[in-house]
Amino acid sequence: MKEKKTVLNIRDFSVSFEQYERGFHKTVLPVIRNLDVTVHEGEMVAVVGSSGSGKSLLAHGILGILPYNATMGGEIWYDGELLTPKRQKMLRGNEIVLVPQSIAFLDPLMKIGSQIRKGKKDKASKARLDKIFEGYHLKEEVQGLYPFELSGGMNRRVLVSTALMGNPKLVIADEPTPGLHMDMVRRVMSHFRELADKGAGVLLITHDLEQALEVADRVVVFYAGTTVEDAAASDFQAQETLRHPYSKALWRALPQNGFQFIKGTQPYVKELPDGCPFGPRCEYCTAECQKEIAYREVQGGRVRCVHA
């Protein structure tokens, strides 16, 4: 396979919040630690982790729109260069685009058309929008509607349309299909697949492994704020080709593999164990697992486990 250009390379990314505990103690909550992801041109990478594990912060970190009380660490490389706040400002909405979860991310009092065009009134943006809508079989009248007037089917296409106003090289889709019917999910996913096939890198952030496996090229498994494994989607065909015990557990929980769930829940950020966050729930856990664990290459993928 020809080596494709790397669009996004995130190394050792972390996000933490300051918080008051009972009384006057200020503590730091490390919501994300040790997150590593790469996305190549024309590739669709899914970051899979359970709900509430702080995955959205990854998207916000890349775009530079984290809340003010969050602190970010690590490095984000975009298009071969370090992604500085200045570059983020320049690129977001144009080369780097976000497709949000729902129409709650649209201004309720602004018409769809001018909203997608960011309030511009020029002819060029109008022509561009008309073309995008045509491609998604959206009638021109939709431009004159308010977000609350959209039907469920239109919602997604409108949200994806927002991404196409620029020249996206990196598309970040943050849980783009919450609570949707499987047919609908496939349709939405096909829009993203299309974008990837046209050459953009797509970063899909989701809690649904099944969905991710259907469209993504690679799957990055995210557990308790850490990426534990980076595997090709095809590696998920059998348990043996997977590297991390948590990925294997996810595999066993898939419907076609018997719906077996492991005991326990993800640790809360304040009660993280030393070393491997999965340690307490892992049957292979040894003393070694309580030390710092390196993210290393294993059989064409990467894994953060000493036993793999």
Binding site: F17, E18, Q19, Y20, E21, G23, F24, K26
Partner: protein, 274 residues
């Protein structure tokens, strides 16, 4: 400057505000006799080292008069706001628990009270009760309960639907026990903050209504009286008669506000991130 941890800062602020207010109230009450003393040998003095806020046309010490006036305003404010908040608690809870008819009636009364401009209603009520101390206290008490009553009504309605209360009901816990054990702990922070935030309004309105002549009688050294009297002497350039008492009134009101807001911050679990 030392960067204090936000919560400690809030507590310190709360403490300073409360201590200042207590001191003013006590000192003012203690000097209430001295505030009336007239001495023509020292009349119309501009502020100086001896008389911080100057003296008036009867030679009364304005600093002491200001403190006494504030003390009286604070005590009246606390009394009126206390009565008003109990009224709010009662009516708010009744509206939420006694069925549709009672709810509608109380909502009507709230709309009614809010429909007449505050000051005008105060004038009317004060007039109805023959002006003076009684008129002010009843007036302020009857006009300030509406918004807190709304808050409490909403809160109780929400609590009633809460799962754990529904469960407790099914388990056969008595209504009184539910109210005391499960509802009260949720209501009381809201109530406390509402009460403290009512003080500044009560004090402001007491001063206003007294200023207009419907409140405390002119022989009392109330802030409203002091400011009302000062009007006559403004044109003669006796600026200190109006400036300092007013400034201190503003300061008192702000401190009550600070105290209430800090308490709200401390009691609000949502503020952990700030």
């Amino acid at each position: 400057m030392i960067r204090l941890n936000g919560r400690i800062k809030t507590v310190v602020l709360f403490g300073i505000a409360i201590i200042f207010l207590i001191v003013v109230t006590m000192v003012g009450a203690f000097f209430s006799e001295a505030a009336m003393v007239t001495d023509f040998s020292r009349k119309d003095l501009a502020p100086g080292a001896r008389y911080l806020f100057g003296t008036d046309w009867l030679g009364r010490d304005m600093f002491i008069r200001t403190l006494t006036g504030l003390s009286m305003s604070i005590r009246i404010g606390i009394l009126a706001a206390g009565v008003s908040s109990v009224l709010a608690l009662l009516l708010g809870t009744l509206a939420a628990t006694m069925g549709k008819a009672v709810d509608a009636a109380i909502t009507w009364v709230i709309d009614l009270v809010m429909g007449i401009p505050h000051i005008l209603l105060l004038i009317l009520i004060s007039y109805a009760f023959g002006k003076g101390f009684k008129g002010v206290v009843i007036g302020v008490a009857l006009t300030h309960w509406t918004s807190l009553a709304r808050v409490i009504r909403g809160e109780v309605l929400q609590l009633k639907e809460a799962l754990y209360i529904q469960t407790a009901k099914k388990l056969g816990v008595s209504n009184a026990q539910i109210a005391w054990k499960h509802m009260f702990p949720h209501l009381y922070p809201q109530f406390l903050v509402g009460l403290i935030l009512m003080f500044p309004h009560a004090i402001l309105h007491e001063a206003s209504i007294t200023f207009l002549g419907f409140g405390l009688p002119p022989e009392q050294p109330a802030i409203g009286v002091i400011l009302s009297e000062s009007m006559k002497y403004l044109a003669m350039g006796r600026w200190w008669l109006a400036l300092f008492p007013g400034l201190f009134l503003v300061l008192t009101v702000i401190l009550f506000d600070v105290a209430g807001e800090s308490l709200r911050k401390l009691l609000d679990p949502g503020s952990v991130h700030k």
